[in-house]
């Protein structure tokens, strides 16, 4: 094991895949600048190792970053397109949703679209309305796409590697506030399979399902609740589509209670889908109806008191969990 930051681990994963397969390459804004990526060093040093044909520093042209990745994928390479933030990913929704997600299907399987698009999600402090959004539900809703949202350095590295090797287009959503967090990363290849959740903490009274940064808050909430003598199981989905129903159903069968926690706006969010699915498929196991928690349906505000009003905090997760536990 080696301890490293999320950003470093994911960069290692990319470099390892680029060494393994000469058809893997990356494109995006600022990839070859002094800080190597969006100020988090995600690409630092890669241009020196792989050259400008494989670490392509692009103009601010989101349509073409995404569209070129699609064209290069159908033409036999494995591009990793970086759109910096999910907020900028919206500039390229057309190329991702109308092209990447549909080409294999609408051309009857004549081509695959083996690309990864990195779209960083989530709030930091003061990011405000256009640098803070979590849009994972948009892409989970889109047939043809795989969506992953790893929460640890090891999962970031391992899932990026799986995403690069997959023949499906994969939306890789990393939380901006996780880039600097540290964790143990295995010294071996460290693959993390697409579609496999990880149980972060075992418990018997309530299942909290979450992903990305919110999974860490769910663990904190579970620790708080443990002080009350309540045993909470926490599942980090890691992959949102396809999500690991086997692990979630088994956990709900054990606990009989489910809370799904997400940072994104609650209305129309992915937590709603999981809650509805479990309601339909685990009804005999449930002691009470599933709960979900997400942000109010408003843009992310700037000033700290208002920003905190938007946030799904550990305390709010605990309160929601108690609702389910008391039912």
């Amino acid at each position: 094991m080696t301890t490293m930051t999320f950003a470093d681990a994911v960069r290692e994963g990319l470099a390892e895949e680029m060494r393994r397969d000469p058809l893997v390459w990356a494109l995006g804004e600022d990839l070859s600048t002094a800080h190597g990526g969006t100020s988090a060093n995600q690409y630092l040093g890669l241009i020196e190792e792989f050259g400008a044909k494989r670490i392509v520093n692009t103009p601010i042209s989101e349509n073409t970053i995404m569209g070129a990745a699609v064209g290069a994928a159908v033409a036999g390479t494995r591009p990793v397109a970086d759109l910096r933030m999910a907020d900028f990913g919206m500039c390229a929704v057309d190329e991702l949703v109308n092209q990447a997600a549909k080409i294999r299907y609408m051309f009857g399987g004549q081509a695959r679209v083996p690309l990864v698009v990195r779209q960083a999600i989530g709030m930091r402090k003061g990011g405000a309305a256009q640098h803070s959004q979590s849009t994972e539900a948009w892409y989970v809703h889109t047939p043809g796409l795989v969506v992953v949202a790893p929460g640890t350095p090891a999962d970031g590295r391992g899932l990026l590697k799986s995403a690069i090797r997959a023949d499906d287009p994969v939306v890789f959503m990393e939380h901006k506030d996780l880039w600097s967090t540290k964790g143990d990363v295995p010294d071996d290849e460290g693959m993390v399979p697409i579609g496999e959740a990880k149980t972060l903490r075992e418990g018997s009274d309530l299942t909290i399902v979450s992903w990305s940064r919110m999974a860490h808050l769910a663990v904190e909430a579970a620790e708080t609740l443990a002080a009350d003598g309540t045993s909470v199981e926490v599942i980090d989905l890691r992959t949102l589509w396809p999500w690991d129903k086997v692990t979630v159903y088994a956990s709900v069968a054990k606990t009989g209670r489910l809370l799904v926690a997400q940072e994104a706006v609650q209305v129309g969010g992915f937590a709603s889908e999981i809650a509805a699915d479990v309601t339909e498929n685990c009804s005999t196991d449930l002691k009470t109806f599933p709960r979900r928690i997400g942000a109010p349906r408003m843009p992310v505000p700037y000033a700290e008191p208002m920003e905190n009003e938007f946030r799904v905090t550990t305390e709010r997760v605990v309160a929601k969990a108690r609702e389910a536990l008391d039912a």
Binding site: G71, A72, T77, Q99, A166, D167
Partner: protein
Amino acid sequence: MSETDQPRNTPARIFELYKTMCLIRAFEERAEDAFDEGFINGSIHQYIGQEAVGTGVCSNLRRNDYILSNHRGHGHSIAKGADPEAMMKELMGRVGGTSGAKGGSMHIADFSVGMLGANGVLADGLTMGVGAAQAITLKGDDSIVAVFVGDGTTNRGPFYEALNWAMVYELPIMFVCENNTYASSTLTRSVTAGDGPVARAKAFGMPAFDVDGNNVVAVDALATDLIARVRSGQGPHFLHARTYRVKGHISRDKLLYRRDGETEENWENEPLGQCASWLADNGLNEADLRSAHAAAYAQIDTAVTAAKESPFPDAALAYEDVQDFGPPEPWAGTGDAA
């Protein structure tokens, strides 16, 4: 009909191009008939009047060169060598269609001949085209990319992104702007500032040339030059072909936005007649021209018959080719999508 390797402007070479144009014309006319008879759903965007552009360009491409098309893709596909019978089956949604009947007319594609797809969203062919060119560069192939766009698309943002991008990375790509005068039912010049597509391409430092897009001899000659330059590593080039969309935006379009006589005046310049005249002037006998024309229609009639006789695909095939991870689940209960 790729890789016509005769020297340019010889009657033998131009006769081959004429045959391709006849095939496209026959395909489009018979597709309209089939549409009117109810054999084709959705809509069809016909290439009638523009055959010289796709034919003159693709005749200079190799099988492993890529083309990306727009929504008006039948002609580009045939010119690049796609099988018209499989295409007609695709239009009719039948087994044996180029895309397994999943895409229909607007998503016509044949990757086996390097035709990477027609497209329902304008300008996406440009961005994907530069990506395909980047893949070629990475793989070290000597193939090239040609992207077909219409005049209307020159008003979309990705057009500029892609032209800039192609120049920055010196990609092996040719942009072919087929200026058919109309953006859907709007006269493009009525919504377009400046001096037109050539001026816009030149603003990026891209070599850009204008040609009579209804004259296949001229298109072929210019495309021969430009494609040779692209293939030899001289970077992106821009070919602007002036033509006219004889038919409506889609086959149902009644052309209510055109002045009286406009279509008929432009029909005088349609490319097949021009090409036939050139061939007659250059020694081809009229019987050969007539028999080539008839052979094209016979081939398409056979394709239409085969398509009508081909069955519809099983509904369960709808679930295939969505994705490897997390494919769709069939309707619960009946096991039958119906």
